[in-house]
Symmetry: C2
Subunit: 122 residues, 2 copies
Amino acid sequence: MIRTRLSPEETTPISIDGVKDVSMRVLLGGEHGMPNFSMRHFVVAPGGHTPRHAHDYEHQVIVLGGCGEAEQDGVTSTIQSGDVLYVSPELTHQFRNTGDEPMQFVCLVPRTRNNGGEVPGS
Amino acid sequence: MIRTRLSPEETTPISIDGVKDVSMRVLLGGEHGMPNFSMRHFVVAPGGHTPRHAHDYEHQVIVLGGCGEAEQDGVTSTIQSGDVLYVSPELTHQFRNTGDEPMQFVCLVPRTRNNGGEVPGS
């Protein structure tokens, strides 16, 4: 059985255009032989945010700590631990930490894009 | 944006052979238009367990509360909040609550079986 743990200190800072103070770790992905979808752990520092972007695959997100905002298609709502969100393909979205502690979430993506390519970070 | 919350009181008892004191809720599934995979929330009461069974699709599991045991292919290990597990297709597995409080986990499955049919409870 493949097993691991949610461990914020094992996430790695990511440097992508539009990202501020975000670290991530692929918990279960291609490197672990996942056939259909991947699970990634994100930690966003206070004031940090993911990129405001869109792509041709969906996200499923579980907020596991902290609080902030989720923006999708121009609409912003607050998020906190225990919230579960679905981000549709092709819609512009961003997650921002507006609180005082790290905001943690798990984000799941399919392994394969609609065009047959591999989903980045999966 | 489709959103919901982890809410143990919104899970529903499931009655399947081999299940004891387990309730579940599909957080993001076919009914919500999920294209590739589904997220389900399980609550196992103390002394309860999921069925010991096998099937042709995988699980990705995040333990969110309580503690217990995970058995896969005859090997048992303890699990607690924060653990992340991958259950391979075709391997016999079971989750048991050996603690004093409800054991909660999220379990993700693909929407489609290898034979093309729909994954039950997705």
